[in-house]
Subunit: 247 residues, 2 copies
DNA sequence: GGAGAATTTTGATCCACATCAACATTCCCA
DNA sequence: TGGGAATGTTGATGTGGATCAAAATTCTCC
């Protein structure tokens, strides 16, 4: 696997009214803003950036300056150990916020890599700080977004620390399904954007185990798998796999 | 293990100047505040709470209202699955902030349990929001604290997803040592406040494995163990265990 | 201060997942 | 559009850490 190149910044400032008519408004913005306030937000997000499959939005240790709202596409975030082992720490889709790891030390603490051609809204962090001092709902929203990231990671720790392989994969599929649903896509059929190896890295499993477990779920009639295409046939069954006795 | 009882709130408002002369000032507060601003902070933290060993500061699903700065003592945070399995998601000592998991959904997402008699400063969240709109350095500081929690959890995910038992325990000991150091305690000798089972839960290992690995480190001359007392004899050696070839 | 509970250590055995291997399929771009 | 690389599947075997067990030690609190 070759090191992803950094994406070029493409200023598409010309696009008017970035946030005000963005379809992701209720995913990534606070509600209850008046026209004036939304105008301010539009000015905050004055750049978008296209990121080609395999390229990074930011890389670990790079200076931190902006947050990135995923506008379209799909990302993974990864940590790399000195000896080369790497760990996928998350998968991120439209409406998700990237880069909050960089605030604490003023440099990024992971790599954010596009898994398909994608687009992000660049949110200069200084502007966000300023505006969230003015707009209470923005402050509140931003804090909630950070808090939810903490809670999400708690969940992954539970998964990695306490679940067996089948439970991990079931939890993973149900989580993906739920996130697609909340974005208006089908809950029961979707295409994976990541490889078996990336899923394995995220779940603390080897790719062979991921592949075998997919096959087993298929045999059991829980899902239909055809390469990257997943159909969830029995979501209650998947839920039963979670928290089921090892037997 | 019986369910920890909730701690009583003890208003010790009478104590003057909570923050302004707290020894943890540089751990838990922003720097660069003038006397006036520190006075404001003092008014934000108007309650402390004693938490007896085994009691909780808050429990999962409880309504969120405040953050808690650990003033003294030692805590664990835990998640519990429906089937009873539980996962320790962190250990927290003086200067650490607890409760940020609750902001996103307005209810707590884990349990915070004292591992020894402890004391926390209660920070009403609404007051913190208000003040951080006024005081830029407070806003900045709070965002950094949240971001660092995200990064800490990234690290745990790497540990749980990619490391073997010895590496996990070495990383754990080095991390504890570093945290004691930054609080002015000895880097090379300390007492564990948690049981082998709690360490195991945090590291995704069984208590027997934790115990065996401690013994092995002792045989290898890396550490001295006597129950909860740990002496680090060869921290370079411990670092070498991390990122060493399985062989 | 002593009895019972909780915690820790160590040994023997087991098993879930890793590893190694071979082949099939799909993707990608030259 | 074809060929090589990347990805995915499945089987055989190995092993790190889990599990089961028993005894030693240390708390805890009456």
């Amino acid at each position: 696997m070759s090191a992803p190149k950094l994406a070029r910044v493409i200023d598409i400032h010309a696009l008017k009214s970035a946030c005000s008519n963005c379809s992701l408004r209720e995913m990534c913005l606070p509600t209850g803003l008046n026209a004036d306030e939304i105008e301010k937000l539009d000015q905050m997000v004055y750049t978008r950036k296209r990121v080609k499959r395999g390229d990074s939005v930011y890389r670990s240790e790079e200076k931190f300056g902006s947050l990135y709202a995923v506008r379209s596409g799909f990302f993974k975030t990864t940590l790399v150990m000195e000896d080369g082992r790497d760990q996928v720490t998350g998968f991120h889709m439209a409406g998700d916020m990237l880069g909050m790891d960089g605030i604490g030390s003023d440099q990024h603490a992971c790599n954010a890599v596009a898994l398909e051609d994608s687009e992000v809204c660049v949110i200069p962090y200084g502007r966000l700080e300023e505006l969230s001092r003015e707009l209470y709902v923005l402050q509140q929203h931003f804090h909630k977004v950070m808090s939810r990231e903490i809670v999400r990671e708690h969940g992954v720790m539970l998964l990695l620390g306490s679940m067996r392989a089948e439970e991990r994969l079931a939890a993973f599929l149900l989580n993906l399904s739920q996130r697609f649903t909340s974005r208006g896509y089908s809950a029961s059929e979707f295409n994976l954007r990541m490889t078996r190896e990336e899923i394995g890295s995220y779940l603390g499993l080897k790719l062979e185990t991921v592949s075998r477990t997919f096959s087993k779920f298929q045999e059991d009639g829980l899902i239909g798998v055809q390469q990257k295409n997943i159909r969830i046939l029995d979501s209650e069954g998947l839920k039963r796999v979670l928290g089921r006795d090892p037997a």
